[in-house]
Amino acid sequence: MTTARVVLIGAASLAIVAAVAAAIVTRPRPRTALDTLYLAVPVLGVVVLVIFVAAHA
């Protein structure tokens, strides 16, 4: 993997982690337990995507 690709994956991953963390911190107050469960879908989805991309790049 070239340095440019490592840097790109790293920068994209950092941006995702920062944005997801901020999205969790600033999330609207859950109205039901399901609201919290639903939030896990986009969070886990992007984490899995980053892991797969890093592993396959």
């Binding site: 920068a11 039901t32 879908v41």
Partner: protein, 287 residues
């Protein structure tokens, strides 16, 4: 059949939404093939995708008719105005969905047909009937249905699902919330009147604008992940960066002027179209 009745059937399938769905299919096909996959296959896949999406939209009209009648934006649709009967729309939706499945199976492969039909089922049974009415995370989860055409396009060419297809899926999935929340900001009162718990209705404008901004950052970051794992080059990378900076800039601008949400809504449409077009250009230039 009269012209106005025909026009009502045309509106039932929400043709503008279908346009956007199809925009994401062709670039996925080009990326999967590493070249133009053949006009016949592209046309066949688009036609099948059109049938499935049209079926989903017709069924959505049936389910949402009690909501649509309360919203200024939707109360002129064929069902609230009684130009099409619910039973009629239901049959049309089912027929289109079944035709989409059979067509895609015959013209492409079973995986593409199953994916398109699964998206229809998810959109109708999970999003429209349940999520939309019960949670402010409705469009976050429901966005998965709109992201499936990228998988359909990839599957139509390869008969499998590769990682680049999932990245394209991720781009559309994370693009959907900021796109729809911008619309929901504009029509906040409409959604509130209809009792739909869209994010601006239950959490307010400030929280919504923050969530739009953060999801925009995620979209741009996910779009950049395509570069290391797919056969795309600098045309795509530069396009993704430039378009992404503008998208995030538009989202940040909303903090000062939330009344300009429709500007972001329109730009987000253009963003997705141009980003996916850059995939096509990049692959075809290199081929």
């Amino acid at each position: 059949m009269t012209g106005s009745r025909l026009a009502a059937y045309g509106l039932l399938i929400k043709p503008r939404i279908i346009e956007l769905l199809l925009i994401t299919t062709v670039p996925a096909m080009v990326l999967a093939a590493g070249a133009w996959p053949g006009t016949g296959l592209v046309a066949a896949t688009l036609f099948g995708g059109f049938l499935s999406a049209a079926g989903a939209n017709a069924l959505n009209n049936v389910i949402d008719r009690d909501i649509d009648v309360h919203m200024e934006r939707t109360r002129h649709r064929p069902l609230p105005t009684h130009r099409v009967r619910p039973g009629e729309a239901f049959v049309i939706g089912l027929a289109l969905g079944a035709a989409g499945f059979l067509w895609l199976w015959w013209a492409t492969n079973l995986l593409a047909a199953l994916l398109a039909t699964a998206a229809l089922a998810f959109y109708v049974l999970v999003y429209s009937m349940f999520l939309k009415r019960t949670t402010h995370q409705n469009i976050v989860i429901g966005g998965a249905a709109g992201a499936v055409p990228a998988l359909v396009g990839w599957a139509a060419v390869t008969g499998t699902l590769g990682l680049p297809a999932w990245v394209l899926f991720g781009v559309v999935f994370y693009w959907t919330p900021p796109h729809f929340w911008a619309l929901a900001l504009r029509f906040k009162e409409d959604y509130g009147r209809a009792g739909v718990p869209m994010l601006p209705v239950v959490a307010g404008v400030r929280t919504t604008v923050w969530q739009i901004t953060l999801y925009s950052v995620v979209v741009v970051a996910v779009s950049l992940l395509l570069y290391p794992i797919a056969s795309v080059g600098s045309v795509y990378l530069v396009s993704a960066l430039v378009l992404g900076v503008v998208l995030i800039g538009q989202a940040i601008a909303l903090h000062r002027r939330p009344d300009r949400a429709m500007r972001l809504f329109r730009w987000s449409n253009l963003y997705l179209a141009l980003l996916f077009a850059s995939v096509v250009v990049d692959v075809l230039v290199a081929a």
